[in-house]
Symmetry: D4
Subunit: 150 residues, 8 copies
Amino acid sequence: MSSDPRPLVAVVMGSKSDWETMRHADETLERFGVPHECRVLSAHRTPAEPIIAGAGGAAHLPGVIAASTLVPVLGVPVESQALRGLDSLLSIVQMPGGVPVGTLAIGRAGAVNAALLAIAILGASRPDLRDKLRAFRAEQARAVHAEPPR
Amino acid sequence: MSSDPRPLVAVVMGSKSDWETMRHADETLERFGVPHECRVLSAHRTPAEPIIAGAGGAAHLPGVIAASTLVPVLGVPVESQALRGLDSLLSIVQMPGGVPVGTLAIGRAGAVNAALLAIAILGASRPDLRDKLRAFRAEQARAVHAEPPR
Amino acid sequence: MSSDPRPLVAVVMGSKSDWETMRHADETLERFGVPHECRVLSAHRTPAEPIIAGAGGAAHLPGVIAASTLVPVLGVPVESQALRGLDSLLSIVQMPGGVPVGTLAIGRAGAVNAALLAIAILGASRPDLRDKLRAFRAEQARAVHAEPPR
Amino acid sequence: MSSDPRPLVAVVMGSKSDWETMRHADETLERFGVPHECRVLSAHRTPAEPIIAGAGGAAHLPGVIAASTLVPVLGVPVESQALRGLDSLLSIVQMPGGVPVGTLAIGRAGAVNAALLAIAILGASRPDLRDKLRAFRAEQARAVHAEPPR
Amino acid sequence: MSSDPRPLVAVVMGSKSDWETMRHADETLERFGVPHECRVLSAHRTPAEPIIAGAGGAAHLPGVIAASTLVPVLGVPVESQALRGLDSLLSIVQMPGGVPVGTLAIGRAGAVNAALLAIAILGASRPDLRDKLRAFRAEQARAVHAEPPR
Amino acid sequence: MSSDPRPLVAVVMGSKSDWETMRHADETLERFGVPHECRVLSAHRTPAEPIIAGAGGAAHLPGVIAASTLVPVLGVPVESQALRGLDSLLSIVQMPGGVPVGTLAIGRAGAVNAALLAIAILGASRPDLRDKLRAFRAEQARAVHAEPPR
Amino acid sequence: MSSDPRPLVAVVMGSKSDWETMRHADETLERFGVPHECRVLSAHRTPAEPIIAGAGGAAHLPGVIAASTLVPVLGVPVESQALRGLDSLLSIVQMPGGVPVGTLAIGRAGAVNAALLAIAILGASRPDLRDKLRAFRAEQARAVHAEPPR
Amino acid sequence: MSSDPRPLVAVVMGSKSDWETMRHADETLERFGVPHECRVLSAHRTPAEPIIAGAGGAAHLPGVIAASTLVPVLGVPVESQALRGLDSLLSIVQMPGGVPVGTLAIGRAGAVNAALLAIAILGASRPDLRDKLRAFRAEQARAVHAEPPR
């Protein structure tokens, strides 16, 4: 985690057990060299440009943060035990008009994508991040076509 | 629609019947004075900073656009006839790792919120939009507390 | 609404549009003569003994209130447009261990029952309320058996 | 289990296999020193102040008990084999108007929270329990913020 | 309703509002000339050979009756307001091993079919009912093939 | 399996892989000494009094059999791989008016209960089976109350 | 309906009430001039090259036809009353390995698409149909881009 | 894989991880000696007669291919991690009118059936494939009836 410079992204989670999912957001931000910080439950004093919030079950954290900030909030539904994250997804995405949370997929893919979407947002004013994103996409495309399934 | 200046936001939809939902994104952007354009199905040459894509049923448009652009894509699940938008929601939000779509609520609230999230993204480099967003939030809060339910 | 004496129950809702559902809690408390108050979104200074909180969609209000009070919180999932209250229900009931919300049925029946459960809680130290509850139940039973379906 | 003094809470379950879930209610009540008793299927002669009832699948026990008592009934949906507790949840929470069951989350978190909600109800007339609840909450908050996720 | 002779089938329902659905069971039994009785909530003294029980939401009636009788119990999930009878269906069909309820479709079709299944059960010892059932089936088949869709 | 005398119950299943579930119907019938036979997919020449049909996924067997016989058909939804038997349940229970299938719970409990319901149907004309059912119920009740959960 | 020449497509439905949906398959085939026939429930003697089968609820018709023919069977889930066609969809699409039904969307769109897929299948050996399909697609694309949403 | 002659069927998948499911389509085509090819994500230059496309989660591949070709497209919903393929199924089957995807079951059975449906489509002009299909069906039927479940 590049925590020394001013964090550009805050990764917040509802409980320590969400770390298993949210560390994939952390790793993706790390890979792109984006200064960020990771916290449990608290996002009050964060000066970050976008905020990534993950939670499971009756997942209120992303919406509560979104109601108290003007920066974009991205939500990650963490997979829950009984209902496999369907409860997390609906609790995050079905926000009333006025308080948006940009919601990603349930679980690991959602955590990775929240980081990538945060990087796309930051990329508007940071050409180096947009270049890294372009390179990442090109590499993804190559990986897909490199080897046949058998 | 403020279509004269370079559009900052592109609102794209999967079919004309999605307009009934997506016009709420258009109206919200209009209210904030954000130059934008609205199109059916085509987003190829759009130089917009964020893209709002709405679609219903097996809703591929947001994901397909997201795979072909580096700017943030926000998805609006349009309410479908039989399954009430649950199909639209899952088709948009459950993107694989690598191609994020920031997904909002099903239907009208989602269209309004996609516009507000686009404005929050633009606000990073446009203090006037962030100020308008702050004013909008304050007005919302006043409206909520102004009259008792009876 | 018996608002003059100190309110014993606070009825809180996420938005004014929830009133159509939550007024059934209000009417039930009125019928039992329980002093109470009804508010939108704010429950901070309420000295009530139990709190009834209703909300729809990504319904955070009951859980957020529950995290900030030691008195029992009862949640009413308001029926939402697209997903018919399934989102409201899961957002309220699936709270993590540590912060309970006693959740009732979706919609009108849930609002009535939240009031009745609040009355049962108050009844522990107010024999008159328990007597009224007993009478209400007896009347219900008579109504059921009074007339044949045809 | 503090079974010697008059039990303040009855924990009832639909079958012995529910014990794996309901023991978390038992342990939480134990931790707070609340006299209680645990039984399978029978709650008839219980003089408890609130009743916690857990069941899985077509889970009738909480509703049936609620129809025959004037004290608050709290329901715990036990996770079922095929439908992961969605059947248990709907069978408990969707009670008709007139017979409330305050329903908690599916599984272990619900059992813990049913105990905490019962303690909150008892706390109205027992300041020592309310104090313990306040201490428990403070400890929870400290635990959350004590260690960073990594 | 042929209520004079000893009723062979008891039709029981959870509330008067279930009559709109359950009257289709009544009408089907009437059409076959099967002595039966219709009641709300009470099935205690019924000497019927099979029992049809309809209920909606957290629908406990069929299972509770099944636990207290040795005759076959057939359950009809009545369509509920918010969840369209999915809650009713799961509350009736997901009975634990030991207490069977033979469950039919949600709503009107289920009420008709509960009556037809009751008639099939009675037909084992009443050749006239089995003959009527055979005639009914033949008539159904003719009706299906009688007219083309246009 | 008591296959020598004329089988009173036919247990039919959609594929050999359903046997893992349906053997619980077989064992229950065996325990009650009910002559029966078990077959895969074919029920044409069966002179049984009730038929138990189990199938998974798009589970057509119970409905297809019900359309071709006048004896009561009981359906057992076998748990499927992806959707955990929700598809099996809806494919069996949601029969149109005119062709009833009395449907039991998903999986093992449903197979046991189909056998018990078949026995209850047979019991109308066989007092010995009704007596065994009464004894079975009494034993169940004793087992429930015999040992405390701890 | 072009019923004079040998029908190339059979449109079969589970009940007359499915006609409201299935007539959209009929109209699409008519528009392309494809000889076809429409029937309720019976597909035995049909020499058609593909078969379109629509049904609702516990929808067995498509699977039963598929098990008895070697030509491609296309299934249309008709929207049902209570569960909005989710039951129809799962009953048709979740066929076991060995008996395929190519399933289309719930309701009208599915009926139109079943006809278009049948035409695509016929087009392999009938260049005129493939040409008509190409023209239809081009016209669709023009219609989409012809007028802006406002 | 018979890749030497011109491939008659293209098997396309959304990511390499779909191969675990889609190899069952490959094996079935192999068993029938149908020339085919398997690719990840790309189907542009494929001259195949039908196309089988498998994908999971927000599964856009089958619909995107269907929009760009006139040959029949068959979709296989790959089982996803959190929602067990319900998201994959709805993303593939709920296509709007105009662009059909013939959808098969979730997972392995769907992959096998997509191959069998492709073979049935090819069989219209290749009597040898139809003969092999007839033999396969006869063998299936024998296997089902060959051994009793015990």
